[in-house]
């Protein structure tokens, strides 16, 4: 296998760039070309949808625990604003963002996404804005909460706008 210097640069500055054949072990081991896509994919995907729904049912009840954990991490960070506490809160928000919509709580996922952007991209997030996210998440997690309630949607939008403004104020 040859190494070829990239063109248009003096020899002493030349970057070596190499193109290497992909052995594609995966295709050689398990890719079969004997059937059309739908014939194999449709039943597999149907089975997966049923299996996924079963997992969702098992985990839906755990959403309040996710919210409790998030609230605890927020309280811990407010009490002692250390990097480790911030990281825990960010991870909790990110987890919620990743799974809430899948568990039938898109509003919680949306607010958690806004919170994770606030923690992830703003060096010193305003305490009031953090508090507002936590309060909104607690409200959205109440059993009687309605995800597409216009007021709830307006609150989520307002939080996202405030976070966007805070990110825009960040230097660099």
């Amino acid at each position: 296998m040859k190494i070829i210097p990239a063109p248009c640069k003096p020899a002493d500055q030349a970057e070596t760039v190499e193109i290497v054949a992909n052995p594609n072990r995966l295709a050689r081991k398990a890719l079969v070309m004997d059937s059309d896509y739908d014939r194999a994919a449709t039943p597999a995907i149907s089975r997966a949808e049923r299996a996924l729904e079963q997992v969702r049912r098992q985990h839906r009840a755990q959403l309040p625990q996710f919210l409790d954990r998030l609230t605890e991490h927020h309280a811990a960070w407010r009490a002692r604003p250390r990097a480790q506490a911030r990281e825990r809160l960010l991870r909790a928000a990110h987890d919620l963002r990743g799974c809430a919509a899948d568990l039938g709580q898109p509003l919680i996922g949306r607010i958690a996404g806004s919170l994770s952007r606030l923690i992830g991209f703003v060096a010193k997030p305003p305490a009031a804005l953090l508090d507002a996210h936590i309060a909104a998440l607690r409200a959205a997690g109440r059993p009687d909460a309605v995800a597409d309630d216009p007021v709830a949607q307006a609150v989520a939008q307002e939080l996202e706008d405030k976070v966007a403004q805070a990110i825009a104020r960040e230097p660099g």
Binding site: E15, A21, N24, V32, A51, V55
Partner: protein, 173 residues
């Protein structure tokens, strides 16, 4: 075309219990039997060395090292047991900068949560069909980036002695 999932060894690195359960359920429904699970980057790398998986599914946000760092180590030709392993990054991060960072770490493809069975199936099949050659350049080892003019970069299978010039790491020549 189809993948014989029952022949595959799959490494799944995901710290969120729900997401991990959901992904395992979908993979098993596809027919996968050997699914090695990790909840942090360190365990993922250890399993990668021990099990030599055919596919790696990596969450970005997990206890150190994170998915991005894990992908970089898997692509390290000096130390990796299989620097060509197909890597699918799965993340709630949809920001363009994140996707580009994952690409620059050498991942083959990127999947934004929530994950649906159809998208997961298609992405996994896509990893097998993907025959892009790899690019080795200072600071990068990974699949050649797709040419926007040619949506199917896997159309051409490179020869073993295939060596060409390119301008930037990962960019199509």
């Amino acid at each position: 075309m189809r993948l014989e999932f029952d022949r595959l060894s799959i490494l799944l690195a995901e710290d969120n219990a729900y997401m991990r359960a959901a992904l395992v359920a979908m993979l098993e429904a596809f027919g996968a039997q050997a699914i090695h699970q990790a909840t942090d980057g360190e365990t993922a790398l250890a399993l990668f060395h021990e099990e030599r998986p055919d596919i790696v599914l990596l969450d970005w946000e997990m206890p150190a090292p994170d998915g991005l760092a894990v992908a970089r180590q898997m692509r390290d030709r000096e130390s990796s047991p299989d620097p060509f392993v197909p890597i699918l990054m799965i993340s709630a991060h949809a920001e363009r900068a994140r996707v580009l960072a994952a690409r620059d770490a050498g991942v083959n493809d990127y999947l934004v949560k929530p994950v649906t069975p159809r998208v997961l199936y298609d992405k996994l099949l896509g990893l097998a069909v993907d025959q892009r050659p790899f690019v080795a350049a200072p600071g990068y080892f990974g699949p050649q980036r797709p040419d926007p003019q040619q949506p199917d970069p896997s159309a051409r299978r490179p020869r073993e002695d295939d060596t060409r010039k390119t301008g930037h790491p990962g960019d199509r020549a």
